[in-house]
Amino acid sequence: MLTIPIETQILFAGILFFLGLIGLLVRRNMIFMLMSIEIMLNSAGLVFIIAGNHWKQPDGQVMFIFILTVAAVEVAIGLALILQVYHHYKTLDADAVNKLRDQNSK
């Protein structure tokens, strides 16, 4: 029913993916970094839906369900890690968690 070329639709997914990537690189707050990863996963799923719509096959939607599962697990683990980091460091700044860094190479 849409007469939009598939290139435009994939361009939309690409814009969303790069917005997520920019958010991941620019923000140092861990909650925002996790949200940016969500945006990127969602746009990856969007490409599957676009392709499934293009070839009229259900496989794209099946792949989206798998991506949804991965995203749910990733958010649960990521938020538990964020809670632990906050209890140890009392901050959500990703740069504060640098115990593994080589202290000699500043």
Binding site: G20, I31, I39, V62, A76, L83
Partner: protein, 172 residues
Amino acid sequence: MDVFFYIAVAIAIFSTIMAISRRNAIHALLYLILSLLAVSVVFYLLSAPFIAALEVIIYAGAIMVLFIFVVMMLNIGLEKSMEKKWLNPRMWIIPSLLAGILLVVLFLALSNVGSLTENKGDILPKQVGISLFSTYLLGVEIAGILLMAGVIGAYHLSSQNKKVTHRFLEKK
């Protein structure tokens, strides 16, 4: 139908930009939920009504509620008169306006195509389910194992045990 697609795309991109540029985590989450709703309208227009419903229920419903609970537990941006700030229309007028536009778009799209089953191009949940539990059965089982690992991992990470130090790192 194309104009609905472009409206939803514009709202999704705008709210994603707002989500990654807000300072307050709750405002960012509000915009992120709006972005997910806009993408869900796009899914509906891309003849995937089942995935559109899943996007609203699981992404905007469950995952975002997890985020909001964590933001609430960590008390990010604690201020004295938070309630007064939240009741300030400046904070929620743009997201609710855009969500209203999305609702109008969804209604118009629904009234254009008639009922869901009459729509010829749609890939219906029945096909998805048959494909999911025949061709991709192994993937479903792996996803089940992944979910179990996630549950155990989240439980282990969030349990408040005493601080454990390796014996080599202990101070003599």
